[in-house]
Symmetry: none
Subunit: 235 residues, 4 copies
DNA sequence: GATGAATGAGCTTTCATTCAT
DNA sequence: AATGAATGAAAGCTCATTCAT
């Protein structure tokens, strides 16, 4: 096994372990055990634990960066949007292990690394936001707060991919793409603009109290049941 | 200071420390220092570090559970939806510290606890999904995959709240509520059904290749810049 | 490059590295890097790290042994003494790297090796002591404790060479030789036996208390200033 | 056992272990084993291994600094010199363990600490040198290179104390003081200035070759015997 | 109840040494 | 002979948890 292969093997092992246990619970011992090398070997290929993690995340970043196209408003916008959705989904679905690291386990690292993660998030968001603003000028995007739209979009996308990474759902890729696209295009709440308003009558946009309940009724509340946590040790 | 107060003081301190440092970087020493009690005292009120964390999270859950109403399809659906959005936003915005823990730092805990978190997520999602299905029967929800709709919705909501918890954005609460509601109601992609179809012509929903690019063009790619990670020590 | 050359190259590299970093900080990696051979090659020529060190030290020993002459009391003693001083100085000044190892870095080795170093020191000292005793019989050495005289002499010599090895001082060799010789011949405290006693009056050799101060005065004390130690890592 | 006692116990244990094994070979495990506490306890009292060592050395420094008096040339110089010798000897003989650390094991520490040690050495030396220069003006010190005199003196003193620390010699304190004082006062080489020159005749200060031997004779060489070093492991 | 000193398992990282090529 | 990748025993240090006072 040559150096590059060994390095790959270690990266693969690290990816698996990180995604299963999260950064802190992943021990170098776990990684080398999975890669079937001695502990010292790990440090022949990476200067420390953090750097493997960083390398994995950065690899995912650059694959994402390589997949996303800046939307050209003079061409077919819808197709481009769909392409981007599809490309992002493809990259992340292809690497559920890393995706789940990125989306949920990335905490507690050193501040500089966390900063890097955030910077990436903001970059992606800014890009999306600018595309939406451009789209508004062209009349293909609804008026409204483009920043919030960007946030919602990213959130929706992340959640789908996160579920997938958790292996709770293994949805056909194209179904995700289509559904997300539809969702972004028309939402799902069908409040017939005319009929709706008419039907609801004058009470209109009655603001429900932010906390507390609507008075005079005993609405059914949702109470999450309690699970039990197991004992092990330490931290 | 009586028992209950002391307990509250510890919980408050723990919440602050957890949200500032994440679960692993938060040391019991930090918590007791902030609460101004001795280390041993901590263990008089909680069996271990994990359990404080669990208690905090469960508290947030139950506040959420208490705020969400099961949608009654015979009454004003839109108002109820908006109420729910508003209620969830209210609970989570009121406790950004815990929210950020929940959304990003919750990794690396023992499997049983992670399971509990997941169970809660699924419960919430199932509830939403059922409401959406009911809504479809009543014609107030677009046809489509209710599960994906639920996922998208939760993701959009999470992301907005996450940004808030990160203090990147401090948006007026009602603006979030309204924007999210609008977003769910009509999306933002305006592809005029008639014009759009006409414009796109017969090729219809041409599937762009999932990976790889459209041929014959050199589209602008997005390349996230690289940050540097700092050295500190160890893990 | 033949075997002997390679061996020499390794010894030279080791000497440099040991003298720059001390035994423990000197890594086998440093040595082979400087010698431009592979790590495994090192172990082809030496059984282990310690043995290179031992060989270097032993080489210095034997050069010293070869330089020192047993003083023949029937010949010109002073010249012989001076010769010996000169010879020792020559050997050690020619190899400041090794000298500094020997004088300051030689700690923390395995007990057997330390024993060997001590044995050498004692041998040299015994030799000197015997010469001094002989000299006393011949009337060319002051009466007094020859063992202490030997110790003082060795110490004075070591210190001068040590300073040189530290590169704090680069003194002309002959000046060292002459000064040391003068020092050994007459010391430097000039307490004119007659005048001195007269001047000091009857109190004579008042013994100052070994610890504590002479009463009734507040003599100026010497207080070394404090430096700060830097943080690096580990050991 | 209260905090101060425990701290002392750890310092004592560290002193013993350091002086027996040198800094690098002394393991924190050794220290805590000797002090009969758990490893963690060590770190309750000292931030790291280096700092105990530093504290020990600094303690010795300050005891030395406290013992040495700046020589007042208007008073009885000889007595003051003797006092200083006596004081230094007292401090160092009282703590042979630390003395041996200071004199031989102090290598391989982090550069900043080594610098501190050197600074102390230079301070002491400078003090002595200045006193000697002053003495020369007053006619109580022989003309000559005061810096070399200072170096010789320190070396002689160190060596005596070092031997003592090694437990090779347990000499009565006052004998050391007297012998050193005598040594400094008149050396030991008795070359009767007048007779000597006459006796030696015209050959005077014939310079023996710096290396190589006087020709025409086969002088007896000193060859240190070889010891054997034992095998253990590693470094 | 409250305290905080003591504990020790466990972690990351280093590096002398080995050995297949 | 030469190489350099692989090894794994140790080391320093951390911190959740315990327990005598």
């Amino acid at each position: 096994m040559d150096k590059a292969e060994r390095r790959q093997a270690l990266l693969r092992a690290a990816r698996t372990v990180f995604s299963e246990k999260g950064y802190h619970e992943a021990k170098v011992d776990d990684i080398v055990a999975l890669a079937k090398v001695a502990k010292g070997t790990f440090y022949l290929y990476f200067p420390d634990k953090r750097s493997v993690f960083g390398e994995l995340v950065r690899g995912l970043f650059s694959r994402l960066g390589g997949a996303i196209l800046r939307v050209d408003p003079s061409a077919d916008v819808e197709a481009q949007v769909k392409h981007n959705i599809r490309a992002i989904v493809a990259v992340l679905l292809d690497d559920p292990a890393l995706t789940s690291i990125l989306l949920s386990h990335a905490a507690g690292l050193d501040p500089a690394f966390v900063k890097e993660l955030r910077a990436f998030r903001q970059e992606v968001k800014l890009l999306l936001q600018q595309s939406l603003a451009e789209g508004q000028r062209l009349g293909v995007i609804e008026p409204g707060d483009t920043e919030l739209y960007a946030t919602f979009t990213i959130g929706a996308l992340k959640e789908v991919l996160f579920e997938n990474a958790l292996e709770e759902q293994a949805r056909p890729r194209e179904r995700i793409v289509t559904a997300l696209h539809d969702f972004l295009r028309r939402g799902y709440l069908r409040m017939d603009p005319a009929a709706g308003l008419a039907a609801r009558g004058p009470e209109g946009e009655r603001a429900a109290p932010a906390t507390g309940d609507a008075p005079g009724e005993a609405p059914e509340r949702v109470s999450p049941s309690r699970g039990r946590r197991a004992r092990s040790r330490g931290d």
